[in-house]
């Protein structure tokens, strides 16, 4: 299990390096806020710990769950809002002129 974990970690880092390097500077801010959302993946660790934790540790896991979810929801939503603003020529043509003007 430990070995598999390290292999997957290394593979993710390598593939990530390849894919992320090709993101153009134009989209670096959405990339970062998207990464904020991904770092919220900690919530799955928090859920697992929350359910197995003794009463004393539950509170810490719950706090982690809340903070992680702020990252997940906030990160994805702000990225969505930002990316909606990036408009190219293709979308401009959708804006039709009002015929009676």
């Amino acid at each position: 299990m430990i070995l598999a974990m390290f292999i997957i970690l290394a593979a993710a880092a390598l593939l990530g390096y390849k894919v992320i390097s090709a993101v153009p500077p134009l989209l670096h801010t959405p990339l970062m806020s998207g990464m904020n959302a991904l770092s919220g993946i900690t919530v799955i660790g928090a859920i697992a710990v929350f359910f197995t934790a003794p009463p004393g540790a539950e509170g810490w896991a719950a706090a982690a769950l809340i903070l992680g979810m702020i990252n997940v929801a906030g990160g994805f939503w702000v990225t969505e809002r930002m990316l909606r603003m990036f408009k190219g020529k293709a979308k401009e043509s959708e804006v039709q002129e009002i015929p009676w003007q």
Binding site: F51, A62, F76
Partner: protein, 480 residues
């Protein structure tokens, strides 16, 4: 077990495919949604895997966090993206530290191995460092405190001592496997907080893109190590993705400023005039608050034409066919991006060809300028990065600089031994005419005087860009 590994790989591939779609602005929106879907699957799977009903108390916390996140994501303004990303970096680091602490309290008695103690200690330290470092970054970016780089007595020593001591304590905790974890690990967390505080405190304004990228990376590294500690493959792999992304951006930012990460972190502040970086925001907002701004600007446009006859800006603008606009942090401070959009419309209305030149470190975070201009409604196909736009300055009739200084300073190529020597710049000086719409002639963050201002084909138009740009717009179509 096999199912877990397969599903973990699927989820990580989902995230990777999402990032792959982010390589083009046409597909990026779907990339983000694919990422959100993968996250949803990961969370749902965790409920199934732990054998818990979805309807449990955990759902309450998920709902609370999710709601706060949505409200934050909906209410934040694009101009405040650097602070927002910095804040989320910090929360990510804090969440990882908390998970690890909860795991430590839960599992310390169950014959925990050395790997568990090593990784949990590290995750706690890195998470704490990310949290405090990000809080300082938010305060700086929001202009609430420490806006300038603060260098305390023995600053570097304290920072190094905190990090070394934390590592030492993690090692001690590992070797006595966890006997004194309850005494040692909180100290590690405290030292992490201290290190983050001292690391970020002495970093100044224009170095912020580097620090935000670095903290972004740390938040991922903390999650990845936490994943190793709680033996969660998805967490370890996804954290690594975020860590790598942050490192790539950190490197790009460092290269674009021709500085080493070490010199940035060492708080080496380029130049002598560090106090005079960007204009204080109070001045700007005082000007911004006048409601009848555009009217005033129109009237002023006429007077400016009369005074500035020496440079004859209207002729230059009206005769130019190929125009390149260079925005910088000053445009963001003056909130002049909408004025710039109106200028673009007016210029294109006269059949002129207009492009934007975006330097990688313009603004306070990677891609900051692109987001502001996109928000103002400017077509992203007009936004060109350094390598694409630089050859085009040779054929440009006019370059309009809006609140940018160091990134267009020819001293970077011409002079040796200045803080910006060797830094890749936008070759604005190659354009036939250059109009500089900066707040004043003070040097930028680097403290190096801008050689551009002295050249004959460069026309300076000092003032708040929210006023000077509408004046330029007013000159279009004017016959002198």
């Amino acid at each position: 077990m096999a199912v877990t590994i397969t599903l973990a790989m699927l989820i990580i591939v989902g995230f990777l495919a999402g990032i792959r779609l982010m390589q083009s602005p046409r597909t990026a929106l779907w990339g983000n949604r694919l990422g959100a879907l993968s996250m949803l699957v990961a969370i749902a799977w965790t409920f199934v895997y732990t054998g818990q009903a979805i309807l449990s108390t955990a759902l309450v916390y998920i709902a609370i966090g999710g709601l706060i996140g949505l409200i934050l994501g909906q209410s934040v303004k694009m101009i405040h993206m650097p602070q927002t990303v910095a804040l989320l970096n910090g929360l990510g680091g804090a969440a990882s530290a908390l998970v690890v602490w909860a795991a430590v309290i839960s599992y310390h008695g169950e014959g925990a191995e050395m790997l568990f103690w090593g990784t949990s200690g590290l995750a706690l330290g890195v998470g704490a460092l990310t949290l405090s470092g990000s809080i300082i970054a938010v305060l700086k970016l929001q202009g609430l405190a420490f806006r300038q780089a603060v260098q305390l007595k023995g600053h570097g020593h304290i920072l190094r001592a905190a990090i070394l001591l934390a590592v030492l304590l993690v090692l001690i905790n590992m070797s006595l496997p966890g006997q004194y974890y309850f005494q040692l690990l909180p100290v590690v967390a405290l030292l992490g907080l201290l290190a983050g505080f001292f690391m970020t405190l002495r970093i100044g304004g224009a170095d912020m893109p580097i620090v935000i990228s670095l903290l972004n990376s740390f938040s991922g590294i903390a999650a990845s190590i936490a994943g190793l500690a709680v033996e969660n493959v998805i967490l370890a792999g996804t954290g690594a993705l975020v860590g790598v992304a942050g490192m790539i951006l950190t490197r790009i930012m460092c290269r674009a400023m021709n500085r080493s990460l070490f010199s940035v972190l060492a708080g080496f502040t380029p130049g002598k005039k560090e106090a005079e970086t960007v204009p204080p925001e109070e001045e700007q907002s005082a000007i911004d608050e006048s409601p009848a701004k555009s009217k005033v600007a129109e009237e002023e446009a006429e007077s400016a034409v009369a005074e500035g006859s020496e440079d004859n800006l209207p002729d230059i603008i009206n005769q130019a066919q190929r125009i390149i606009i260079i925005p910088g942090y000053g445009m963001a401070v003056a909130q002049a991006q909408n004025a710039v959009e109106q200028l673009l419309d007016a210029l294109e209305g006269k059949g002129k060809e207009v492009k934007f030149a975006i330097h990688p470190v313009a603004g306070r975070m990677p891609g900051h300028m692109n987001v502001l201009l996109a928000e103002a409604g400017i077509d992203y196909e007009k936004l060109m990065d350094l390598d694409a736009i630089n050859p085009q300055f040779d054929h440009a009739d006019l370059a309009i600089i809006v609140g940018a200084c160091d990134v267009v300073n020819p001293a970077a190529n011409a002079a040796e031994g200045t803080p910006i020597s060797g830094m890749p710049i936008l070759n604005a000086e190659k354009a036939r005419h250059v109009i500089v719409c900066n707040i004043d002639e003070k040097p930028g963050y680097s403290g190096v005087d801008n050689l551009l201002y002295e050249q004959d084909h460069v026309h300076t138009f000092w003032g708040d860009a929210a006023e000077t740009i509408p004046q330029l717009t007013g000159m279009i179509g004017q016959v002198s």
